[in-house]
Symmetry: C3
Subunit: 293 residues, 3 copies
Amino acid sequence: MLRRYTRPITTPAAARAVRDYNRPFVSLLSDFGARDPSAAICKAVVLSIAPDALVVDISHEVEKFQVRDGALLLWCAVPYMPIGAHVAVVDPGVGTERLPIAIETARGDILVGPDNGILGPAAERLGGIEWAHVLENPEYRLPVISSSFHGRDLFAPAAAHMALGVPIHVLGPGIDAAELVQLEWPVPEIRDSEFLTAVIYVDTFGNVKLAGEPSDMLAAVGPVEYGQALEVRLNGRGALAAAFWADTFGRVPIGELLVYEDSYGRLCLAENQGSAAARLGLEEGSAVSIGRA
Amino acid sequence: MLRRYTRPITTPAAARAVRDYNRPFVSLLSDFGARDPSAAICKAVVLSIAPDALVVDISHEVEKFQVRDGALLLWCAVPYMPIGAHVAVVDPGVGTERLPIAIETARGDILVGPDNGILGPAAERLGGIEWAHVLENPEYRLPVISSSFHGRDLFAPAAAHMALGVPIHVLGPGIDAAELVQLEWPVPEIRDSEFLTAVIYVDTFGNVKLAGEPSDMLAAVGPVEYGQALEVRLNGRGALAAAFWADTFGRVPIGELLVYEDSYGRLCLAENQGSAAARLGLEEGSAVSIGRA
Amino acid sequence: MLRRYTRPITTPAAARAVRDYNRPFVSLLSDFGARDPSAAICKAVVLSIAPDALVVDISHEVEKFQVRDGALLLWCAVPYMPIGAHVAVVDPGVGTERLPIAIETARGDILVGPDNGILGPAAERLGGIEWAHVLENPEYRLPVISSSFHGRDLFAPAAAHMALGVPIHVLGPGIDAAELVQLEWPVPEIRDSEFLTAVIYVDTFGNVKLAGEPSDMLAAVGPVEYGQALEVRLNGRGALAAAFWADTFGRVPIGELLVYEDSYGRLCLAENQGSAAARLGLEEGSAVSIGRA
């Protein structure tokens, strides 16, 4: 049920992206955690190079080593970010032979991070990859590179310089986009009018993002109206729950489950004012199927 | 023991509030959590509209769906914020018929959020409500409004535009301040020289904010000196603890309880270098009474 | 095994520190927690005084009351920060007779916080103490000083004014650097070619910082090559584990332990893509010894 990432959802709802050449923009995403100073150090390195830069932290609480979570959160965020350089560091392979890269997208952004797939979905969502380069030029790194903190020594400086206007090809040799590492994502299947999918992310509310798009689910189960019940089955455990197809939480009573299209256009399962994940024991990778009640 | 919120505590200790017309100011408060990108997306939406805005995150870790916690934290923070637009989104009713509103205060701030009471205490603390308007004008929203993320699609854009100087009445029709939803807060009682109150917030140190003001408590129990012991009773469970009336933590030995006026002028119960909440098993709503030892 | 802090590790890898006189810089570090509004209030107080200041949050999730953790994280961060005023508030003695101080360093930074040792290691890392002054001048405080929130009322305003150029001696009387409180840190010992040390910090990955420097450990156990196994003994419990001396995580298989020099030049113990602290049951103060396998 796994294949390579293919098709991101584009959303027309995004804010009008702006590029302000007087104000370089850099965003940061990582699994560094809020307690340690790592994220602030990356920000300070950007500001040492580009003192006028506007720096926004997307999240530093990505679950440790979960590259796919990082890729998904970056995918959610970038359409709303001003055009700029976006650094994403969930990097279990730091210090190994995995390449440090930068990607220039059709929208004009630069994505910076390890070549482990974390940048791919965001790149597609920003119009696709125009150029990809390996970060090799020592001029755009800190003077000494540690083997365990490339966010600080390599990615943050590269992003700051590119946000200031250094062209991506100056950073190092080009690399064919087809050679970049791609993540694998669960792919839903349809069987007997049932939509077989899997959990790809549980947010801090306990809302559960599922693989596949709402239109795919509707194609499987057939037409349903808002407020109509669906049956949610947790594969491998046989448990059942009723969930309403709904446009928003308030459509169902407090404590009831709903299946809905979330604000990024994704298929989600939630409990109104509760945690669907806690209630159903769901975590990333859990198999879920949706059918008519 | 519950009634509508009435009287906020004003504090003369606040920083001199400034309005810098060259630098629009926006603050953000929510229960979105630090792990998900929602808060950063709201910030980026503000910056897409108002690239020169200064944006401060008050907190995005308000306990999920706890509107009253959000209202209290906003009340604590706004006197120290520069004059600007303050967005508060703890919004269990998102997507339902609850109104999206903006309030202009006597100090000159704009408060933006759902009409569920979260803005009321802050509005009173900023001098009271001058105008209240419903956010209806599609010019000041994102092009497509989701049914589950009004922080991004509706509140952040409205705040950014008003921080830039768009007058509040342009955003939508006026609404009578008396019609706005108001929160209910516990109200202390006095019985036999005992001050009967309740926990309204437990902070990250485990310090416990109680309903009522220090002067109310002192009126109930009679004159006490700093360092004098009080008796704290946990209603309904009968447990007793000694706590010293104190001006600060260091007044009592490490590990001892104190009752004090906190830095916002509120009545609090704490343990010096420990968690009073954990020690006494207190949480929001717990009934507490204070009397002479 | 405890003595006063003496020798910080200097690292040539730091970003080039910059001072931009058009853009005052202030960093903030505390144990206030991300949920409460305290950290944002300190930031807003800085911005009320210095509206053009750039403010970076190093961390507000320092473990409650752990002054030494705060000192270590500040030590990690300051070399990468632009030259400016750095506020550090882990302050169990707030409101007692402990002094509020500011330190000017050789690099040109101002460190601001309680005189409990939290500023010392950072001061040494920034070239040492040039001047130390007590914060007494009421002109550079908020109008009313609470007894429990000096971060807001005293330290943030002082830092903002000094970031704007107010000379340190204007804030209050000088104090001899030798009179400042210094923290005690574990000091490693060598016994029978074994390096006896202790845990001084566990980061959010579960990586464990140990007292002492990598060169000290190597001097104890004798020459080892990357990839060579060392024996880690948890003193007092006798448990043993094999850990490889390595330059980076990827040098050892996933799930294996490594001993390495971290990106700040410190001696560390980690598990590749896991938590060494959880696996070995380590916490601050745990005794650890390292010897040849």
